[in-house]
């Protein structure tokens, strides 16, 4: 009895505890900053607690099935239901979201960006968490859309109020780009409803899989959804909002944007676009793959042209999300497993890089790499952490980044059997070049910021090394980067079954060979471990 109730409430709690926290925070007078901080910490910890409970109770042998499902009435007039659930694909992302938010609250403890006002900042952060967690558990297109949009306003305000000098431009650009994408996405959802089996249920639509659509209609509808997701990822050529948003956003905003918000787009491809319209996806795949590798190279070259540390990390996000999208474009279980690993790894590593960049700015009041230098002598611990993250980000084996990048490249060697092998092998080569460039720009940044001697202007400055709050916020991420690097099966084990169930359906739809081996172990590492 008790467990049954728990399994019905768990996901709703994970989504709405932050909303409750936001309401409570609003009721606290603004002057009582300590109370605000504690409410935020307790709320996010409680949410994480619920998510950990879900992780413990999750049946990993059936990760291909939706668990903790709730399917209640919501808006009957439009046939939209409150249907939520997690499977092996969404579980890691939900966990990442709950985990990173707690660390953001801890990091913020004494790092409030100007113009201060922790109360408003916390409310926005908690509302953001509602949207993020909700998006990852929604199994109804309209519910998904609502959560997908809820994240917009809080991030808009985070950038616009607490951001850098060019914040107004960056915040509105972020908003308009995403809003345009999601408006088109909504039209796509509606078209699916009317052309399909008159339901918004993602599970039902995935079973239907676009069967009685004419091909041209399916391709158009996929295009509408592509716009929504690709802008969010962001893929080249829709990426231009990202460097601006990241550069201007406050540290915590950047971390949440990189770690979670970008994943809403890639998750949308995996959860919605591919399974519901596999045949259209097959048509789009070479094009998506092309944009992905252009993104990889363009992002890398963009990095080399930056003088601002944060902007460089932002461009590196464009490149990294290119690897993720390349994995998705192969439409194989191997590629999509790699993509999900890439999402989590990028979330941890780039989130961490933005944390460090934030602390560097906090200390030096600049992120201009020409003015920085010698971090290793002035703040050795921070310097080493930066070095560690750079290594993880460039895909050093043994750290998490490797398992996102390397299998994604490898998956392009053998895309779905109905896709052109030559095309994807070309992409593979280009993407491989991208990894070299990635090593180039990341090491270049490291040498500029951490190596050498401090510049004259900061020679006598008092630089604080990593403090207790930073350690508390960062250490869990660093440990997880190592853990996932050494035991990638921690994650592949969760995602593999779910991905296989999905890709097998896709393969069947488009008449391609299954990309899963018997028993579902498709990831080569899983066999070697």
């Amino acid at each position: 009895m008790g467990t049954m109730e728990w399994s019905e409430w768990a996901l709703s709690l994970a989504v709405f505890i932050p909303a409750l926290g936001a309401v409570v925070t609003m009721l606290i007078p603004r002057a009582q900053e300590e109370a605000v901080k504690w409410v935020a910490l307790i709320t996010t910890l409680a949410t994480l607690g619920v998510v950990v409970g879900i992780l413990v109770d999750f049946d990993y042998d059936k990760s291909g099935q939706l668990q903790f499902q709730v399917n209640n009435d919501w808006i009957n007039v439009i046939n939209s239901r409150y249907h939520i659930g997690v499977d092996g694909i969404s579980l890691p992302l939900l966990a990442l979201s709950a985990f990173i938010t707690v660390l953001c609250v801890i990091y913020s403890w004494n790092h409030w960006p100007e113009p201060h006002n922790p109360k408003a900042f916390i409310v926005l952060m908690l509302v953001l968490e509602v949207g993020m967690n909700g998006t990852f558990v929604a199994q109804d297109l309209i519910l998904f859309f609502v959560f997908f949009e809820i994240v917009l306003l809080p991030m808009f305000f985070m950038i616009g109020v607490w951001g850098g000098p060019n914040r107004e431009y960056a915040s509105i650009k972020f908003f308009l780009f995403t809003l345009f994408g999601s408006a088109m996405m909504l039209l796509g959802f509606l078209a699916l409803y009317f052309k399909g089996p008159n339901t918004f249920d993602i599970v039902a639509l995935s079973d239907w899989a676009g069967q009685d659509l004419t091909h041209s209609t399916a391709v158009l509808i996929f295009g509408a959804m592509f716009l929504g997701f690709a802008i969010k990822v962001p893929m080249f050529p829709f990426h231009t909002w990202l460097p601006d948003a990241h550069t201007e956003a406050p540290t915590v905003g950047s971390v949440l944007l990189a770690a979670i918000l970008l994943k809403l787009g890639t998750y949308g491809f995996v959860r919605i676009a591919l399974p519901i319209l596999p045949e259209a996806a097959e048509d789009w795949a070479p094009f998506i793959g092309a944009l992905a590798v252009i993104g990889i190279i363009y992002g890398a070259l963009g990095c080399l042209a930056q003088t601002d540390m944060k902007r460089l990390i932002a461009f590196s996000s464009v490149a990294h999300m290119g690897f993720v999208m390349l994995g998705i474009a192969t439409m194989t279980s191997f590629g999509i497993n790699a993509a999900i690993f890439g999402m989590v790894a990028h979330g941890l590593i780039t989130g961490m890089l933005f944390f460090v960049a934030g602390s560097v700015q906090h200390n030096f009041h600049t992120r201009e790499m020409s003015r920085l230098g010698g971090l290793l002598t002035q703040a050795p611990k921070m310097g080493w952490i930066l070095g560690f993250c750079v290594m993880a980000s460039l895909g050093l084996p043994g750290l998490a980044g490797f398992w996102g990048e390397f299998p994604a490249i490898l998956s392009a060697f053998e895309p779905l059997s109905t896709l052109s092998e030559e095309t994807f092998r070309t992409y593979m080569v280009i993407a491989a070049v991208g990894t070299v460039l990635a090593a180039g720009y990341l090491l270049w940044m490291l040498s500029k910021v951490a190596f050498g001697t401090p510049k004259a202007e900061f020679a006598d400055a008092e630089i604080h090394d990593v403090n207790a709050f930073e350690w508390t916020a960062w250490l869990p991420i660093l440990l997880l980067i190592v853990a996932l690097g050494i035991f990638p099966n921690l994650l592949f084990g969760v995602t593999d079954d779910a991905v296989c169930v999905m890709t097998d359906k896709i393969s069947e739809q488009v008449g391609a060979d299954s990309t899963c081996d018997e028993g579902g172990d498709t990831v080569p590492v899983a066999e070697h471990e």
Binding site: I75, L152, L153, G160, E168, L179, L190, F194
Partner: protein, 495 residues
């Protein structure tokens, strides 16, 4: 034969008439001090009129018709009457302090306001061209005077005169169209017209002219582009509570008239064929040009005026979609489109009134409607800033506040009608809703990102009535956004 009066069905209108009389008598028969009571009397009267509506709605009766089918009290009429009364109640809350502090003619204000509302009440029930016309004039004439109520202010005078001239012109055009319809069909009742139009296809060219003229008349009333030019000047010049009333209730009156005429009179494929094209064009022009003009405004009332023109365009989208569906012989699809109009109208009412309530509250401090005067509102009055953000986000259609559901049903109707015209309409509407966000966000940015402009940084004091108006509209906007089902029933009931 004596006409049959169903007093229960007429009760809301009768209570309103009684209230109007009492307000008028109190104004001239009682000493000046007691005249402050007129607002209270008006508010109580409006709430009292809601009671029989509730009892009628819960009564499991057939639709009640009177006067040879010219006046019907069905679910559609009841839903709209309830909406108009609630809007009026909120308008009174917005007006109380504005009128008390502004040295205006108090009793006349509420007398005129309620008379206009009487027109709205009749409009909801009107099923006959003549009744519709009378209702429309009853709505309009008091508002001509209300628009010019700040009589020492030149802008207010301009507002009244412009509104009056355009109102008379549009009535004349509409009446001309209606007279041709009568000539063609030999009847003024909408059901009779519907029968005649469905059978007879020989008079199509003349019918097209008649419908076009009627449509132009309504386009003026609902300020659809290119018949919109009076609206920004009138809205800016009129007292702000009156502007709120004009942009919500009076506009809704025009839409309801259009809805009744089309839904009860011109639904047959024969006629739908003729009107959906012009409506499609009106919708596209209103959305696009309304939005583009709104982008350039520096005065928030003018901005909201253009925004209401654009919102009117969004409301015309389901109309056009219904026409496309009817022309394709899919009346079920058209039904949901008509529902979408009603849902959009009701949600628009809540969020737009809310936005005006905040405008009135802020103007108490700043005495200005310039958008720049909203600088730092989040610093000085966070509650006002957050509620205003909610209303603007709702107008822009951002979940989880109500506007998204209105936009959603609008998109849905266009895509359900389908075909190249339906899909292109949906895409144009989607692009427009992105453009619209830009100017709503403009105000949000000023409130949140800018420094306060005034020396005085204490929170703005908001009087009780105004607080009530903001609280009601904010609650409705939020609750509908999170749980639209609660409210979608109203749209469903209406048909």
């Amino acid at each position: 034969m004596n006409p049959v009066f169903d007093w229960h069905a007429l009760a809301p209108d009768v209570i309103l008439v009684a209230t109007i009389v009492v307000v008028l008598v109190v104004e001239f028969a009682f000493p000046r001090q007691s005249r402050t009571q007129t607002s209270r009397i008006a508010a109580i009267g409006v709430l009292a009129a809601l009671v029989p509506i509730v009892s009628l709605a819960t009564h499991e009766n057939e639709a009640r018709e009177m006067f040879a089918g010219a006046y019907a009290v069905d679910n559609y009429a009841l839903a709209l009457k309830a909406f108009f009364l609630v809007v009026t109640y909120i308008t009174i809350l917005l007006s109380v302090d504005y009128i008390d502090e502004g040295d205006y003619y108090r009793g006349e204000f509420y007398f005129l306001l309620l008379t206009s509302v009487l027109g709205l009440m009749v409009m909801a029930s009107a099923r006959d061209l003549i009744t519709i016309f009378i209702a429309l004039e009853t709505i309009s004439i008091p508002t001509f005077i209300l628009a010019a109520f700040r009589k020492h202010d030149r802008q207010s005078n301009e507002a009244g005169v412009k509104y009056y001239l355009i109102g008379v012109l549009s009535s004349a055009i509409m009446l001309y169209g209606m007279s041709i319809i009568f000539g063609l069909t030999g009847t003024t009742t909408l059901s009779g017209i519907s029968d005649a139009v469905a059978v007879d296809a020989t008079t199509r060219p003349l019918l097209a002219v008649a419908m076009f003229l009627t449509l132009v008349g309504f386009a003026f009333k609902v300020s659809a582009v290119p018949f919109h030019f009076w609206a920004p000047d009138t809205y800016e010049g009129a007292p702000t509570p009156v502007t709120a009333f004009l942009s919500v209730a009076s506009k809704a009156g025009g839409f309801v008239a259009l809805l009744s005429i089309i839904f009860f009179g011109f639904r047959s494929p024969n006629a739908a064929d003729l009107w959906w094209g012009p409506v499609w064009i009106l919708a596209v022009l209103s959305m696009t040009l309304g939005n583009l003009a709104a982008l350039r405004q520096t005065n928030i009332v003018r901005m909201l005026a253009y925004s209401s023109i654009a919102q009117g365009g969004f409301m015309l989208v389901p109309f056009a979609a219904a026409g496309i569906a009817e022309a394709n012989g899919e009346p079920f699809v058209a039904d949901t489109s008509f529902e979408a109009v009603v849902i959009y109208l009701l949600i628009y009412g809540a969020m737009n009134l809310g936005a005006f309530a905040v405008v009135i509250a802020v103007a108490r401090r700043t005495r200005s409607a310039e958008i720049s005067s909203y600088g730092g509102l989040f610093e000085t009055s966070p509650v006002l800033a957050v509620t205003m953000t909610m209303f603007l986000a709702s107008l822009a259609g951002i979940p989880p506040v109500a506007g998204w559901f209105a936009k959603f049903v609008m998109f849905r109707s266009a895509l359900e009608a389908g075909g190249p015209w339906g899909v292109s309409l949906a895409v144009i509407a989607a692009v427009n809703s992105v453009i619209a966000f830009f100017y709503y966000a403009g105000v949000i940015r000023v409130m949140w990102f800018k420094e306060p402009v005034t020396e005085d940084r204490s929170p703005i004091q908001v009087p009780g009535a105004l607080t009530g108006a903001i609280a009601i509209t904010a609650t409705v906007t939020f609750v509908i956004g999170v749980y639209p089902q609660l409210f979608a029933r109203v749209g469903e009931l209406a048909f």
